[in-house]
Amino acid sequence: METTYTIWQYLFTLPVHEIPWWAEVFRSILRVVIGLAFGLGLVPIYVWLERRMLGWVQGRLGPNRVGPEGLLQPIADVIKLFMKEDIIPTNVDRGLFLIAPIIALAPVIMSITVIPWNGSKSWGAVAPGLDIGILFLLGVASIEVYGVILAGWSSNNKYSLLGGLRASSQVISYELGMGLAIIAVLLMCGTLGLQDVVRGYDLRQPHEFVAGTVLNNGQGLINVLPLSGTGYTFYMLDWSSGFWDWNVFRMFPFGLIACVVYMISMIAETNRAPFDLPEAETELVAGFHTEYSGFRFGAFFMSEYANMAIVSTICVTLFFGGWLAPLGILNQVPISWIQALTQTPDSWVPWWANLINSLISALWIILKLFTLISMFILVRASYPRLRYDMLMRFGWKGLLPVALINLVLIAISLAVQHSFRDSLGTAGAWWVGQIIAWALMLAAMLVAFVSVRKSYASRQRDIASGEIPADSPIVRHPVALALPALTSTEK
C-alpha cells in the first residue's frame, strides 16, 4: 500500500530508512547547524561567566557594561578581534603558522558531532548513535595539541617554542590517565557509543545483570520503552532511577575514582589553571600564541573555550548521566500523559512532545555543563600554577597508577560477577565481585602506604646521617609542614 507523507514528515518525523536522500541531506545539515550552535554558541557565555565569576571571587565586578550584565562583552571582543590587523611576522614558517589555528580549532568542532544531547536515535547528536563515539573523541581530541605545538614551532619565537614544548610534554603526561579513566567507563558499560554509555548499557551481558541499572526487566531501575514509528525513539525511564545510576556512582568507588582522574586530566587537556603551562603568561608572556593576533588568536582562544565545553560535556556524558535528570521523575514530560491529554493512540506521539523532551534533555546537559565549568573557574581562581616537571611527575606517578589500578580492579570485579552470576544471581554476583575488588583496593592502598612510609623513613635516615640536606628540593609536605617555628632574636 502506497502511503503519502507530507513534506514535514519527510524532513523531521519519519524514520531514517523511510526517507529519500534529499531529506537525509537536509537533516544532516540541520544537525550540523544545531551541533555548532550548541558547541560554539555557548563559548561567549562561558567567557562571560568566567569573567563575572572571577570578578565575584576576587571582589571586583567583571565586565558589566556591554549589554545586560555585560553579556554582550564577549561578542564585542570577538568583533574587535575580527577587525584587528592579522599580522604575520616575517621569518615565520608561513604555511604552518597559518594552518596552526585551524588545526587547533577544527578537532574541537569535530568533537561536537558525537556529543549526545538527548536519547533520540535520529536527533540525539550531529552523528547520533555513532557506535565508536568515544574512540572518535579520543582520536580527534589528541589532534588539537598539534595546533598548539605547530603554532609554537612555526612562530620563530623562543617563548612560543617553549610554550609548544610544554604543550607536548603536557599531552604525554595527562592523556594516559585520561584514556585509562575513559576505558574504565567503557568496561563498566561495555559499549563505545556515547548514548549507550549514558543509559548505562552493558551490551555483553543480559540486561538484568548490569549493576544498579537494570534494563527492561520490570523490576529494575531503568525501563526502556522504545516509541517507534515516529522517527524518534525515546526511552521512557522508570521514575525510580536517578543520579545514583550515573556512571560516577557505579561500582562504587571505582566509577568515582575514574571520574576524579578524568576531571583532573580534562583541566590539563584544556590548558587551564593550574595546568595552564603552555600559555603561562607570567613565565612565557603568552606562550604558544605570542605571535598571533587578530582572528588567528581568536581561533586559539575559541578553541580553548570550546574545548573546555567539549571535555566538560564528555565528562557529563561519561560520568554524570548526560542528558538525564538527577531524578528520574524530572526526566521528561511523560509521553503517556501527553497521549492521555491529546487522546492519541499509543503508537503516535505528537512532534511537539518530542521537541519539548529534547529541550528538557538539552537543558539538563547544559545545567550540568555549567556546574562543571563553574568548577573550572573556581579552580582557576584558587590554585597556583604547577611547574611542568611537576605536572609530568603528577601525571606519570600519580594519575597513571591510580587509573591503571582502578581499571584492573573494575576488570576483576566484572570478571568475578560474570562467573558467579549463574550461581548467585545478579545481585549476589555484584556483591561478591565488589567485595573482592574492595579487598584488593585496600591491599593496594596498604602497599602504597607502606612504601611511602619506607621511603620517608629512609629519607629521614639519610638526613640524619648527613647524606642529603634536610631541605633538599624533594622535601615532601609532611616535612615541609613540620618546619621549625621561625626563630626570633632579641636585641
Partner: protein, 425 residues
C-alpha cells in the same frame, strides 16, 4: 652593639654553587652532554619582571644555565637631580625612587639631614614616623605578596592584597591628601599633625588586618602546589647572602638575624617590643614565611606606636622647635616678624647644613635603605648616594637561578621583592 647571627650550618651547600645537591640532579645542566643552549631575553617588558628588569637567560631546554640581569631601563637620575635641589625640595624625589616604600625613603633621607643639622625631633613625631613606616611596610609587603602569588599563578591573592594595600593608601590620603607620594616625613619631623578621625581610621585598619593575614595563610601557606613551587627553590646560603650584600627579609630568610630596627635603632625603635622574623632555609618559601611573619610584627609595632601617639596627646608637637629646619606654625606668622622671616627663608633658600657627611639608614620593606649625604655648606646637597636594597638583592638572582627552570625564575624574582626604581634610581 653586638650583632648576633643566628646562622644555620649549611655545610651541604658549597658557597657559590647556588644549587643544592640532591635527588633531582638529573634536571641540572650537564656541560659535557648538553652543548647547545638557547639564549632568551626575558624583559625589559615582561609580565613578571616587576618593572623593566631584563634577564638574559641561557637555557638548556627549560633549565637555566646562566642568568644575567641587565639593569638601567628605569634610570631616572634621581641622585643627580637631588644635587640641584635644595634639601627641602630634594625630599620629594625620595618618594619617587623606591615608589613602594615612600615613607621609609622619606625617613632615611630625613634622618641623614637631621644628623647633618643635629636637630632633635619631638617624641610624638618619632612615634608617628614608626607608625607610618610600619604601615608602609604592610602596604609594600601586600604588593610583594600579590605580585609574587600572581607570578606563581594564584591570581586571586593579587586582588585581595591590593584591596588591603588600598586601605593603607587611604590612610595616607586621609593624613596628607596624597595616596602614595606623601613626603609627610620631612627633615625636622612631620609636615603636620594628623587630621580628625585619622587615629580611628588607623585603629580600624589594625583591628581588621590580622584576619587578612590569616586568610593569606589559609590560601597559600599549606597549599600543596604553593609549597611545591616554592620549597627548595632559589636557595641562597647565609654566607653567599652576606657576601653579596643582601639585606632585609631576603637575608633574614637565610638565617641571619640582621634588622636595623634592632641593631641600629632609629626614630625610637628601641622603645618597641617586637621580634625579628628569621628563617633558616633561605628558599622562596622561607622568604614568604619571613615576610608573612613580618606583617604580624609590623602590626605589633604599629599597635604600640598607635598607643604611644595616642598617649602623647593631640596637641603634642610633631615638628622640631628649631626654626632653622622646621617652618613655624601658621598662627605665629601673624604676630611674629621673626617667624615670617624664617618662613620666607625656609621656603625660598632652604637651610644650610654645616660641611660634613651623614648617613641615614632605615630598615625598609626590602632591606636596608640608606641615604648618604655630603654637604658642602650650601643649601643643596653636594652628593646624595642612595643605597637601594633591591640593587643588592638582585645580585643574588643569578646565583639562585643556576640549574633551575624558567618557571622557578619568576618565583625567585618575586621572592627577592625588587623594585626597579630602587635599583636604577
Amino acid at each position: 652593639m653586638s650583632m648576633t647571627l643566628a646562622r644555620i650550618p649549611q655545610s651541604e651547600f658549597k658557597p657559590g654553587q647556588g644549587v643544592p645537591t640532591g635527588i633531582e640532579l638529573e634536571r641540572y645542566y650537564d656541560p659535557e652532554t648538553d652543548q647547545e643552549t638557547m639564549t632568551i631575553n626575558m624583559g625589559p617588558s615582561h609580565p613578571s619582571t616587576h618593572g623593566v628588569l631584563r634577564l638574559v637567560l641561557e637555557l638548556d631546554g627549560e633549565t637555566v644555565v646562566k642568568c644575567t640581569p641587565h639593569i638601567g631601563y628605569l634610570h631616572t637620575g634621581i641622585e643627580k637631580t637631588m644635587e640641584n635641589l635644595s634639601y627641602y625640595k630634594a625630599l620629594v624625589l625620595t618618594d619617587r625612587e623606591d615608589y613602594l616604600s615612600n615613607l621609609c625613603n622619606n625617613l632615611a633621607y630625613s634622618l641623614a639631614v637631621e644628623k647633618l643639622m643635629d636637630v632633635a625631633i619631638p617624641i610624638k613625631a618619632q612615634y608617628m614616623r614608626v607608625l607610618l613606616n610600619e604601615l608602609e611596610r604592610i602596604a609594600s609587603h601586600m604588593i610583594w605578596l600579590g605580585t609574587h602569588a600572581l607570578d606563581i599563578g594564584a591570581m586571586s591573592v593579587f586582588f585581595y592584597t591590593w584591596q588591603d594595600r588600598d586601605l593603607v593608601l587611604e590612610i595616607k590620603e586621609h593624613l596628607s591628601g596624597v595616596r602614595t607620594k606623601t613626603s609627610w616625613i620631612c627633615p625636622g619631623g612631620l609636615r603636620g599633625p594628623a587630621p580628625t578621625g585619622w587615629m580611628q581610621r588607623v585603629q580600624d585598619f589594625l583591628d581588621y588586618f590580622p584576619k587578612r593575614i590569616e586568610m593569606y595563610e589559609t590560601l597559600l601557606t599549606n597549599n600543596p602546589i604553593w609549597i611545591e613551587r616554592t620549597r627548595g627553590i632559589g636557595m641562597i646560603t647565609a654566607e653567599d647572602a652576606l657576601a653579596i650584600g643582601v639585606t632585609g627579609p631576603t637575608l633574614r630568610a637565610s638565617g641571619v638575624a640582621l634588622d636595623l630596627r634592632k641593631h641600629q635603632p632609629y626614630s625610637s625603635y628601641e622603645e618597641f617590643d617586637f621580634d625579628i622574623a628569621v628563617g633558616q632555609v633561605g628558599d622562596v618559601y622561607e622568604r614568604y614565611r619571613v615576610r608573612i611573619e613580618e606583617l604580624r610584627q609590623s602590626l605589633k609595632i604599629a599597635r604600640q606606636a598607635w598607643a604611644k601617639v595616642n598617649a602623647a596627646g593631640e596637641n603634642a608637637p610633631v615638628r622640631s622647635a628649631d626654626r632653622k629646619i622646621a617652618p613655624p606654625p601658621r598662627e605665629e606668622l601673624d604676630t611674629s616678624m621673626e617667624a615670617l622671616i624664617h618662613h620666607f627663608k625656609l621656603y625660598t633658600e632652604g637651610y644650610h647644613p654645616p660641611v660634613g657627611e651623614a648617613i641615614g639608614a632605615v630598615e625598609g620593606p626590602r632591606g636596608e635603605k640608606a641615604y648618604y649625604i655630603v654637604s658642602d655648606g650650601s643649601n643643596k646637597p653636594y652628593r646624595v648616594k642612595i643605597k637601594g636594597p633591591s640593587f643588592y638583592n638582585l645580585q643574588a638572582l643569578p646565583r639562585m637561578t643556576e640549574g633551575r627552570m624558567v618557571a622557578d625564575v619568576v618565583a625567585m624574582i618575586g621572592s627577592i621583592d625588587i623594585v626597579l626604581g630602587d635599583i636604577d634610581r
